[in-house]
């Protein structure tokens, strides 16, 4: 097991190198130049602009820039953002918690809601419950997420005025009591979390349903029935356990989305998360920032996948380590 793990870990190195080379080349070769201002300002002199380019190393050949970058990254230094000169790591650290919070909450919400839906509709495929949930699931698949976000914002935030529509805290947040603060944040989170969860809800419940139906047809389940074991026990103890195994992979695969955040939702709800940060960096051609974001994202994704595989191997004795 350990040597398998080590081998997989070593395999990640060329993969990571490949990712950095490709992304470095792509973003530097993409047309456009670093531009942190959104309009032209005639007061900015040519000398000043050229000086910036020198300060940022942009006059050197690309491979040299890459090597310099790589050298720094090996020392865990992702450099400074072009836009405000602050450390890339610091800027990511500011944004990551919010994105993680929203995505983990929505993941939990997905599991809590989708799991029972999937299981119950799998018990009687083609039954009334299954039919309705199938329909809703397809509706969920087909909804443009941002459209739903706008509609919910309009309904719950504006027309009914139940929920705040933007940001994470109220203006008077700092004057609230401990519980008041928590309640305030929860209120702000309801819309973004449910909208984020909505897309995944459909897919996941479908997935559980499919797996469950498959498992329920297996011989060992039939055998269990034949032995007269209580149905609830069969479903929730034996079948569900096996049907949930692939869940691990799904969780592993969803890591890029988890830390990447969503530009669209974050803009609509004015949430300072990773999605907006990376998007703005890409638009401003803030090379160190984009590279930092991508590399950290890639590392976490690859580690996530590896971890998922390991968990899978550990949980499912059928899979033999190569």
């Amino acid at each position: 097991m350990f040597s398998y793990f080590l081998k997989r870990l070593l395999n990640l190195i060329p993969l990571l190198l490949g990712i950095t080379i490709i992304s470095f080349a792509v973003i530097h070769l993409a047309p456009g130049r670093p531009a942190y201002l959104k309009e032209m300002d005639p007061r900015i002199s040519l000398e000043a602009q050229e000086q910036l380019i020198k300060l940022y190393d942009l006059d050197k050949p690309l491979f040299k820039q890459y090597l310099n970058w790589l050298k720094r990254v090996l020392r865990l230094d992702f450099g400074n953002s072009f836009v405000d000169g602050r450390k890339v790591i610091v800027r990511i650290r500011e944004r990551l918690p919010v994105t993680l919070l929203i995505n983990i909450l929505s993941m939990v919400l997905i599991i809590v809601v989708a799991l029972p839906i999937g299981v119950i509709s799998a018990l009687k495929p083609g039954g009334l419950f299954d039919k309705w949930t199938t329909f809703f699931v397809f509706l969920g698949f087909s909804l443009p997420g941002f459209w739903l976000a706008l509609l919910l914002m309009l309904l719950l935030g504006i027309k009914l005025n139940w929920l705040p529509i933007s940001g994470l805290k109220s203006f008077d947040y700092h004057q609230l009591s401990f519980w008041g603060k928590n309640l305030d944040i929860i209120k702000h989170l309801i819309l973004p979390v449910s909208v984020t969860a909505f897309g995944g809800l459909a897919g996941f419940s479908r997935y559980v349903r499919g797996n469950m139906i498959g498992v329920l047809k297996q011989n060992y389940i039939r055998a269990a029935y034949a032995q007269g074991i209580n149905k609830g026990r069969i479903v929730y103890k034996y079948a569900l356990k096996n049907a949930l195994l692939p869940l691990i992979t799904i969780l592993g695969l969803s890591i890029p989305g988890l830390i990447g955040g969503s530009v669209i939702f974050e803009s609509i709800f004015a949430i300072p998360g990773m999605g907006r940060l990376l998007y703005n960096s890409a638009v401003a051609r803030d090379y160190p920032m984009i590279m930092g974001g991508l590399v950290i994202g890639a590392v976490l994704t690859l580690l996530g996948n590896l971890l998922a595989d390991l968990c899978y191997a550990w949980a499912d004795p059928r899979i033999k380590c190569k």
Partner: protein, 259 residues
């Protein structure tokens, strides 16, 4: 065939009809600007109202159906070509080729999708066709994995071995004997992909990176509508519903075919 599948098919059929007969159906030129008639609500003269430049929403929606249909076809076409090519190569040859291709797929999957999209948009001009191309270029990875898995299982089957024994070339084996057998799952994935492509186009347009004006697409109508959501509800409601229905159509059809 069940009711839902039928529903899906009829949506797609309507979509195709709208797209083909767009010039006949739409009562106005979808690009005719009328600054005296900005944001008028649905009425007898403009059944779905007008947008913020006074253009007829119904006509724009009808022409938008063209874009949506094309986006689905072209984007999925592109991702099919790449996905099937890479998938079958990896699955059939295995070994180095397989691991090289699959590592590439892994790398592509590591990037956040929107990042791929916006760098591609920067590389290519944002014409309607290029947007479709870009969506295709960033969505073939799942198909490649699917095809590879199918090929892996099929190539061990007896009839493939028989063909090999008869001295058929690799290309012939893949194209004649293996790929046809991967068709059903690939077709389902492709149809589901068309729905996905429409959603991606609308998200891109929502960020202002999608289909360029004055070509109407449901996505960029929706983007415009967002700015006036409190007084121009029709500009948000109708294109959103259209996207919902079209994607639903593809999904139901795909699901129907799966069974």
């Amino acid at each position: 065939m069940n009711k839902l599948t039928l529903f899906g098919i009829s949506i797609i059929a309507v979509l195709i009809l709208l797209a083909i007969f767009a010039p006949l159906i739409s009562p106005y030129n979808p690009q005719a600007i009328d600054v005296d008639n900005i944001l008028s609500p649905p009425s007898r003269t403009h059944i779905l109202g007008t947008d913020s430049l006074g253009r007829d929403l119904f006509s724009r929606m009808v022409y938008g159906a063209r874009v949506s249909l094309e986006v689905g076809l072209v984007a999925v076409g592109v991702s099919l070509i790449i996905g099937v090519l890479f998938g079958s190569l990896a699955g059939y040859w295995g070994g180095r080729v397989d691991s090289l291709i699959m590592r590439f797929v892994d790398i592509m999957l590591c990037f956040p999708t929107f990042f791929l999209l916006i760098t591609m948009v920067a590389f290519l001009k944002a014409t309607v066709f290029n947007i479709m191309l870009i969506i295709g270029l960033t969505s073939w990875m799942g198909l490649a994995r699917l095809v590879r898995a199918e090929v892996l299982s099929i190539k061990e089957r007896d009839f493939v071995r028989y063909a090999k024994a008869m001295g058929a070339g690799n290309f012939k084996i893949i194209s004649r004997h293996i790929l046809p057998h991967t068709l059903p799952p690939v077709l389902v994935a492709a149809i589901l992909g068309m729905g996905g492509a429409i959603l991606t186009e609308s998200a891109l347009s929502f960020l202002g990176l999608g289909v360029q004006p004055p070509t109407p697409s449901w996505g960029n109508i929706l983007m415009e509508g967002k700015a006036v959501i409190d007084i121009g509800w029709w500009l948000t409601l109708f294109p959103g519903l259209a996207i919902l229905l079209a994607v639903l159509g593809y999904n139901l059809l795909g699901e129907g075919l799966r069974r």
